[in-house]
């Protein structure tokens, strides 16, 4: 006879197999078991973990796999059974379990998912949204109904659509890198401005960032060449794209040179002949900023420090890009000595009960060196202002810029705000050609900043 846990493993094999009928297998078995145990309910416990309600980034396959594993010893000890359902939920049954021990295990699991609001918030009625515990002596009918409902819902669920992108393979990566060496990236280069808020509500553009839009590049590439790979593949691709960006920018023709030019580059690119030629070809006096991802900073800190020293001598700025709540908390970015730290806006930043370590990290940084990027709403700007930040970038800022441009542009009557935003975002092609006033398009107008939000009573 196989070990009880062994039997469960076999049963649990590929619970989320996308091949049709098999996907509801676990729900079927659960209902079957739930009906059978109806005869002996005494001393049995059922627990339903609502992992399907986790935020998508917190219910990755690896996390769910580990969650199941964490429960196995307990389920084994209390002669139980575990079901990993097709919707990511986990249900397990226990016999004669020590309730304190069960709660201890549940708390450990809750800790693993502590990042997700599901583990912290109740549904308003005091009920735990993370898990439901059924004492089958009393709650059997309710549990049986749940098992039935889980099966019905699983059956009714349409099989998951094939993902739009099949992940990039290593061979695909090679083919893509090769293809990229030949393309002119100009049509995929995007421009975004960053602003700084001065006194009395004045806002000025402090730099324009130029980058390649992966989404647009993907649209242009054939469907079998995906630009979406895993993180290491993305880093590899970024190195290839850097060279295309530099090539495209050497042909950049604007009606007015940006006050400062920012590029998102890999550290390794800074050592390439292509970058050195680009830098040497810049008109005298051009202010340059190079934005580096934190993963790159850790990948080659020596190159980072060398770049910092080199940039300081040349008057360029070195920027750490893509900081989020986690990197701010766990990485001592202030010690890098960079000139600017770009934080990506996310509602996560606002979360009250997690704010302490974050705020501590923010306080350790010079607010004058902080920029809030990806500001897509007024809420983002408001949060930044509350933290004392004065530099912003993102779609909301682009809209402000376009709106102000429309206000001063002599040819504005022919254009909508959306058109003006789009035209600001490109460096060439038909979109830019549609604009009748390139001088205005490339010259940031004086702007008024959004007001600091009223203090909450």
């Amino acid at each position: 006879m196989p070990h009880p846990l062994q039997a469960q493993r076999i049963m649990n094999a590929s619970p989320r197999d996308p091949n049709g009928a098999e996907t509801v297998n676990q729900e079927n078995v659960l209902l079957d078991v739930a009906e059978r145990i109806g005869r002996i309910r005494e001393g049995r416990l059922a627990v339903h973990l609502h992992l399907s309600a986790l935020q998508p980034q917190n219910r990755q396959e690896g996390y769910l796999r580990v969650a199941g594993r964490m429960l196995e010893p307990m389920v084994g000890a209390y002669r139980g059974q575990i079901f990993q359902l097709s919707n990511a939920d986990i249900v397990f049954l226990l016999t004669e379990a020590d309730l304190d021990d069960v709660h201890l295990h549940l708390n450990t699991l809750r800790g693993l998912f502590a990042k997700d609001p599901l583990t912290r918030e109740d549904s308003g009625d005091g009920q735990d949204r993370f898990c439901t515990v059924y004492d089958l002596t009393h709650d059997y009918d309710r549990f049986l109904a749940t098992a039935r409902q889980l099966l019905a819902v699983a059956r009714a669920r349409t099989p998951p659509a094939r993902p739009e992108f099949s992940p990039l393979s290593v061979t695909g990566l090679g083919a893509l890198a090769e293809r990229l060496t030949l393309i002119d990236a100009s049509p995929f280069v995007r421009r975004q401005s960053a602003i700084s808020l001065g006194g009395r509500g004045a806002a000025t553009v402090i730099f324009q960032e130029f980058f390649i839009s992966l989404a647009d590049l993907q649209k242009w590439l054939s469907a079998d060449l995906q630009v979406h790979g895993d993180r290491w593949m993305s880093q590899y691709l970024a190195q290839c794209l850097d060279l295309r960006l530099l090539a495209a920018l050497r042909r950049l023709r604007l009606a007015r040179a940006p006050v400062a030019l920012h590029l998102n580059l890999c550290l390794s690119t800074l050592q390439s002949p292509a970058y050195q030629a680009f830098e040497a070809g810049l008109p005298t006096g051009t202010k340059l900023g190079i934005e580096i991802q934190s993963v790159d900073l850790l990948g080659d800190s020596r190159a980072f420090i060398a770049a910092r020293i080199d940039f300081a001598a040349k008057g360029h700025s070195l920027v750490i890009d893509g900081l989020d709540e986690a990197t701010l908390r766990f990485l001592d970015v202030g010690k890098t000595g960079a000139d600017l730290y770009k934080i990506d806006w996310s509602p996560d930043l606002k979360r009250g009960d997690r704010s302490d370590p974050l705020h501590k990290a923010l306080r350790a940084l010079d607010t004058g060196k902080l920029l809030l990027a990806h500001c897509d709403s007024e809420a983002a700007i408001a949060w930044g202002l509350e933290q004392g930040l004065t530099k912003f970038q993102g779609r909301y800022v682009e809209a402000m810029l376009a709106a102000t441009t429309l206000g001063v542009c002599e040819q504005a009557s022919a254009c909508s705000l959306a058109q003006c935003v789009e035209r600001h975002g490109v460096i060439g092609g038909p979109l830019r050609a549609e604009c009748g006033n390139h001088q205005r398009l490339d010259t940031p107008p004086p702007m008024r900043a959004p007001h600091r939000p009223m203090e909450q009573p």
């Binding site: 980034q57 917190n58 990755q60 690896g62 996390y63 796999r65 580990v66 594993r69 964490m70 450990t108 800790g111 693993l112 990042k115 393979s169 290593v170 061979t171 990566l173 090679g174 890198a177 895993d230 993180r231 290491w232 593949m233 880093q235 590899y236 190195q239 800074l270 050592q271 390439s272 002949p273 050195q276 934190s294 993963v295 900073l297 850790l298 990948g299 080659d300 800190s301 020596r302 190159a303 980072f304 420090i305 060398a306 770049a307 080199d310 986690a326 990197t327 908390r329 766990f330 990485l331 001592d332 970015v333 010690k335 890098t336 000595g337």
Partner: protein
């Protein structure tokens, strides 16, 4: 910042620099001695790059104190020219060098008649002409070597003079490697190296043994002419494949491979994979506490959320976690305690001698904050690394020199790649 290749190719060779230096010495011959250490006569397995590096580093101190110059020429020989006041120090360094290579036939036969000495001596004053000829011969030999391109033998035009470049690591090569690894048995490439407490002059006490795949051996077998360092991100992908093979290997070993205290290198994503769960299945509960999981710093920070999840899981299961690959340059950005990690591995670097980090703070202060018994100085190839580490409060060490200390006075440095997986 490194020079672009075109500029690098124009740099004078070490041989030229040596000849130039000998010319300059013509008027300063007095009180100087030169020696040529003929690493070129060692067995090929004993004169790989890292052997030469180790040998050169023996003289680091001398060069730093401006008492001499060291030239590592392209045939692997080392020429040291020094002030006579440093003779004792040189003798000590040479004893260490002989000790490193004393299982090589050249050293074993040195005393026999008719065998050239491993080390040749030149009094700069009395032997100046001989020294000059030696330097000139090295320049000529180097030029000849550079022009002898295989293409020329085929009757084609001679290739331009440049060192043989190693190929860049490409996705196609990675794909080939992954394919080859899918069925490979890595057992003969698995190495062990001890992490030891070294306190004062006391013999090292092993804490645990790192099990790792020798990347040098792997590369030599699969892609001998490829420079894996040329694409660090593809290398990370390669380690993910290696993780699976190593876990499979360890799972199969029901013998003593995992018994005793060990550490293994894994990726964060691997900790969340079925391979790791299957491995975990095979580990006895009481053994987990003795297993250290080593995670690369770049992997930890590439996806902090995944790291935090994997960390909590691994610790809950009883494993200990070490952040690996920390360099003197990245040290200031990393706070071990804040990351909730048990151990931190710092790579030996001669820049550590200055005792300062890139943000200007003191190394000693960092170590005391990180925890002296939680900081491991790895890749220690010399006694110097240990004493420097001890002087800033580090008590845990790993590396070739530690292995020699463990093996005792009878130790021999065996040939063969020992490059650690990064």
């Amino acid at each position: 910042m490194s020079l672009p290749p075109t500029a690098a190719q124009k740099l004078p060779s070490t041989e030229i620099l040596l000849l130039d230096y000998v010319h300059k010495l013509e008027r300063h011959r007095h009180g100087r001695t030169a020696c040529r250490i003929r690493l070129s006569s060692l067995l090929p397995a004993n004169r790989r790059d890292h052997h030469v590096r180790t040998a050169v580093s023996t003289f680091d101190n001398l060069v730093r104190r401006l008492k001499g110059q060291v030239f590592a020429v392209s045939n692997a020989d080392i020429i040291v020219i020094f002030k006579d006041s440093a003779l004792d120090e040189i003798q000590a360094a040479l004893i260490k060098l002989r000790f490193l290579f004393d299982d090589d036939p050249v050293l074993m036969q040195e005393q026999e008649e008719g065998h050239p000495p491993f080390i040749e001596w030149y009094g700069v004053d009395q032997d100046y002409q001989r020294l000059l000829i030696m330097a000139q011969t090295l320049v000529d030999a180097d030029l000849e070597r550079r022009t002898q391109d295989p293409a020329r033998l085929d009757g084609q035009s001679p290739a331009p003079i440049r060192p043989v470049p190693r190929e860049t690591f490409t996705p196609a090569m990675l794909a080939r490697m992954q394919q080859a690894l899918a069925g490979a048995d890595l057992a003969n490439m698995l190495r062990r190296q001890a992490v030891c407490a070294v306190i004062g002059q006391a013999p090292p006490q092993p804490l645990f043994y790192e099990l790792f795949v020798s990347i040098a051996d792997l590369q030599e077998t699969l892609l001998p002419r490829v420079d894996l360092d040329s694409s660090p991100w593809l290398f990370r992908l390669l380690t993910e494949t290696l993780d699976q093979r190593v876990l499979a290997l360890l799972r199969r070993h029901d013998d003593s491979t995992l018994s005793g205290d060990v550490s293994i290198n894994l990726n964060v994503q691997t900790l969340l994979s079925p391979d790791f769960l299957a491995f975990d299945d095979g580990v006895k509960v009481n053994e987990r506490g003795t297993i250290v999981l080593e995670l690369q710093k770049v992997d930890v920070f590439a996806d902090l959320a995944a790291f935090l999840f994997a960390r909590d899981f691994a610790r809950e299961r009883g494993y200990r976690i070490c952040i690996d690959g920390v360099t003197i340059d990245s040290l200031p950005f990393i706070d071990r305690a804040r990351l909730g990690i048990d151990l931190l591995k710092l790579i030996w670097d001669s820049a550590l001698i200055e005792g300062k980090l890139s943000d200007g703070s003191a190394l000693g202060a960092y170590v005391s904050r990180c925890g002296p018994s939680r900081t491991i100085l790895c890749r220690c190839d010399s006694a110097h690394a240990i004493s420097l580490g001890q002087s800033v409060g580090i008590s845990l060490f790993q590396g070739r020199y530690v292995e020699q200390m463990l093996a005792g006075p009878a130790t021999r440095l065996r040939g063969g790649g020992r490059a650690r997986r990064r």
